[in-house]
């Protein structure tokens, strides 16, 4: 008996289809992962269940049933009775989901009162203990006094308060650190097992979904590409897209392969409507001529006529990174400290130590990964090295000197920013942006340089005439890189530059950076929270914890034999080590 059944569900906005032919069934006590890149329509499924679709969006076809009741057609009052009791949600942004003026107790009290629980205090304490929080300490707090992970635990406690039959978790760990993510996911899995709840887990991370879900459905352009047991999708993907996703994501274990960088990006809603045949065909490595003839039906969980060819999609050649042996230093920091002072009251001041004596070394042509969780001081180091901020004490030696003029400095080090939206002036054309430094120094030949730079980062020349708002996220990040490369610096400081991107776009950028290193020979301080990305890109890794570099060494050596406790914790928490959390159950 299935709890949640979607039958050929379709969602449209105006004439454009957002979701098509979505069919799945979720039995009690099972966990289904909905995986897709941004724009695949995965969140729409969660919102369709709550009938909380954005304005203009509506279910146009098919059925969505919860325990035999039609969720779309049922009266509002009935749905309201179900939501929060039988169907609970765990949202993406834990901080934003809690009311900032209410304490944790008020949140729980309000929700439990709605559920009609008699002894609410005792019940609230029990729920918090279940999610590993200490009730006495947490109940009187306001959300801003808790960390993101603690807020997410409170939300999980709220979700499981009504002993729901179905929990929908929409990217519940995207905003959290790796170590916190592992704990939160284990908690959801544990509660699910104990309560026999069905969980719909929406994520962009195929690896995370394979780790914890029983079944996984991969969505592409609003339509299921493949659905099946998590383990089979992980070990023997049948759809070319699933296989490509696997090979596009860098791995933490095994030999290092070149990533599969799918060309282009997922089509937008308008393109989905006009593309003939299989929507994935234009990017597919094994596309055949008949892929244009109508969309393939979902048979045996695979929407592909040529799934036998999927096996031909293999990892790129083995490519171990060659370690850098030169003794020439590009940047060295010595006992670097940065303390932020802020007024805490009329006369009191608080001090926040962001960087507490960090020693870091980057040699010529070397990619050094700087990993650590949020608040560990990674971004502060990036700003200090780039020269956007001054250290409170300690030294930064650029090429052995700490007395560079501004002009020498900018030729030595440039920065690539995290958020391409904010990093590109929306009022300037791309061509102007990438050669801005030449305009400032009054150099000629800017047009030619702009075109050369755009070609170098794999963009077509006509993009020079566009504005940033007309570009996709991946294209913007390429422009961002091109601008930093304009004066051919010796060092790039890159702050989380691939973290906001989809896995296929991320693979394109990682391969681009490696290619550029080979041709231009610059060094890079690559800040990331994603250990697998760092392993793929960097020969050296430095681990930061509470403002201090606790460990720096060759990436493979550090990952194989971490010396510091924190490094061990970080590595253990990273998903995708092929350990199936729920292996025993799905067998």
């Amino acid at each position: 008996m299935s709890l949640l059944v979607a039958d050929a569900l379709g969602v449209k906005v105006g004439p454009l289809a957002v979701l098509r032919d979505v069919s799945f069934s979720l039995a009690p006590g099972r966990m289904l992962g909905l995986v897709g890149e941004s724009g695949a329509g995965k969140s729409m499924i969660g919102r369709a269940i709550a009938q909380d679709l954005p304005p203009g969006f509506a279910v146009s076809k098919g059925a969505l049933c919860f325990a035999g009741e039609d969720l779309v057609a049922m009266p509002r009052s009935r749905r309201q009775a179900l939501l929060g009791r039988d169907i609970a949600f765990i949202p993406q942004e834990p901080m934003a989901a809690l009311n900032p003026v209410m304490t944790v107790w008020q949140h729980l009290d309000e929700h439990l009162a709605r559920l009609g629980v008699a002894n609410r205090r005792a019940r609230a304490e029990m729920l918090l203990e279940q999610v590993g929080l200490e009730p006495g300490a947490v109940l009187p707090r306001h959300p801003h006094q808790l960390s993101g992970g603690m807020c997410q635990r409170v939300l999980i406690a709220l979700a499981f308060a009504g002993e729901p039959r179905l929990v929908i978790a929409d990217e519940p760990t995207t905003a959290l650190d790796v170590t916190v993510q592992a704990r939160v996911m284990a908690l959801i899995a544990d509660l699910q097992r104990r309560c026999g709840t069905a969980v719909l887990f929406i994520t962009h991370d195929l690896r995370l979904a394979s780790d914890i879900c029983d079944d996984v459905m991969v969505l592409y352009a609003g339509r299921p590409a493949e659905i099946g047991p998590a383990r089979r999708l992980f070990e023997a993907p049948a759809h070319p897209y699933t296989a490509s996703l696997h090979l596009a994501a860098p791995s933490l274990t095994g030999p290092r392969h070149a990533l599969l960088a799918l060309p282009g990006q997922m089509p937008g809603l308008r393109d989905i409507a006009t593309l003939p045949g299989c929507r994935f065909a234009p990017r597919c490595q094994v596309a055949q001529s008949d892929c244009q003839d109508g969309e393939p039906a979902l048979t045996d969980g695979v929407a592909c006529r040529h799934s036998a060819l999927t096996r031909q999609i293999t990892p790129g050649p083995k490519q171990p990174l060659t370690p850098v042996t030169t003794p020439v230093e590009v940047v060295r920091t010595e006992a670097l400290r940065r303390v932020f002072r802020s007024a805490a009251g009329l006369f009191r001041r608080t001090e926040t130590v962001a960087v507490a004596g960090a020693d870091l070394l980057v040699r010529q042509g070397e990619f050094v990964g700087l990993v650590g969780e949020s608040g560990s001081g990674k971004s502060t180091i990036a700003r200090l090295v780039a020269g956007l901020d001054r250290p409170s004490s300690g030294r930064i030696l650029l090429g052995g000197r700490d007395d560079l003029s501004r002009d020498e400095r900018r030729r030595h080090v440039q920065m690539v920013f995290q958020d391409p939206q904010s990093a590109l002036n929306p009022r300037r054309r791309v061509g102007e942006i990438v050669t801005q430094s030449m305009a400032i120094s009054g150099a000629g030949g800017r047009r030619e340089r702009a075109l050369a730079l755009l070609t170098q980062v794999g963009l077509s020349p006509e993009i020079a005439q566009r504005y940033p708002a007309q570009l996709s996220g991946g294209q913007r990040q390429r422009v961002n890189i091109a601008r930093a490369l304009c004066e051919v610096p010796k060092l790039l400081v890159a702050d989380e530059i691939v973290s906001g991107l989809d896995v296929s776009v991320q693979a394109q950028l990682l391969e681009l950076l490696l290619g550029l290193r080979a041709s231009l020979g610059f060094a890079m301080l690559f800040i990331s929270h994603d250990l697998a990305v760092v392993r793929h890109l960097c020969t050296q890794v430095a681990v930061m914890h509470r403002g201090v570099v606790v460990e720096q060494g060759a990436t493979e050596a550090v990952f194989a034999g971490p010396q510091h406790d924190y490094t061990r914790a970080l590595l253990a928490a990273a998903p995708g080590r092929g350990e199936f959390v729920q292996k025993s159950r799905s067998a």
Partner: protein
């Protein structure tokens, strides 16, 4: 140019165009000298009402001055004050807001506190005190409004400058060698300009009202220059006998201020990026 297609901008612009034409062409449009007194024909009703005379299309006031002529010349005063006062207040507020918002730190603290002290005086009282000290005259009215209202610009703009200055593209411009001046003029100001335009437009409407208030209490542009506030003050004594004398300048003020406000609102909606993002366009 999306702003040119906005209904609000068109309506506001048309209203103001009418006022502007009246102001510029007043000497040719007005049938009389606005200060010419005809004591034999005082408090005449408009020409189309019984007792009205064709030479005074909108009637006369208690001193026998032509209401239409005074309205037309009053538009000159109103627009003059609106444009100069808004420009002056805008310039001071713009400069200080960019200094405070871009530099931050002590400059920001100092300017912020100065604004707080300044704004703790009630604006009407402050401008009345200033006018008592300065004396009457158009230039004095403008100066009073500038001195009172620059804070309004500074407050709102400072927050905007602060937001823009924290964008990564501002940091990026510094990194590739731009001076602070180049960053301010090349990156920050283009982003704050839409807000400045909007604020100036709204400030013009406020200036018209303030000028009318000051003229009404007799501390405005001076008795021998026609002004709408002055007309209201004059007509007040005879409001029972000739209510039209009060209604005409009020209508003029209303249309003018409405024009500025609708235009300002239209510009804000079409120029402000955040508004555009909210609508998802």
């Amino acid at each position: 140019m999306r702003w040119a297609r906005s209904g609000r901008v068109i309506i506001g612009g048309l209203l103001l165009l009418v006022v502007l034409i009246c102001a510029i062409a007043a000497p040719w449009l007005a049938p009389h000298d606005p200060n010419e007194q005809d004591l034999l024909s005082i408090l005449l009703p408009p020409a189309w009402m019984s007792g009205g005379e064709a030479t005074f299309p909108l009637g006369t006031d208690s001193l026998g001055r032509c209401a239409l002529s005074r309205l037309l010349f009053g538009a000159r005063t109103a627009l003059m004050v609106a444009i100069c006062a808004a420009a002056g207040a805008g310039a001071i507020g713009f400069a200080l807001a960019h200094v405070a918002g871009y530099l931050g730190g002590r400059a920001d603290w100092l300017i912020g506190r100065a604004i707080e002290v300044w704004m703790s005086f009630p604006p009407v009282v402050l401008s009345l005190i200033l006018m008592v000290g300065l004396g009457t005259g158009t230039d004095k009215v403008i100066l009073a409004i500038v001195l009172v209202d620059w804070t309004r610009f500074c407050r709102v703009l400072r927050a905007e400058v602060r937001t823009v200055s924290r964008k990564d593209y501002v940091s990026a411009a510094r990194l590739i060698g731009a001076s602070h001046w180049q960053v301010l003029t090349g990156e920050v100001m283009p982003a704050t300009l839409p807000l400045v335009i909007t604020l100036v437009s709204l400030e013009m409407g406020i200036a018209v009202v303030v000028e009318a208030i000051l003229s009404f209490v007799g501390l405005g542009v001076g008795a021998n220059q026609p002004a709408w506030g002055q007309m209201i003050a004059d007509a007040r004594q005879n409001v029972a006998a000739a209510p039209i004398g009060l209604l005409l300048p009020m209508a003029a003020i209303f249309l003018c201020v409405a024009g500025f406000n609708v235009l300002g609102d239209g510009l804000r909606r079409s120029l402000d990026v955040r508004q555009t993002e909210l609508r998802g366009a």
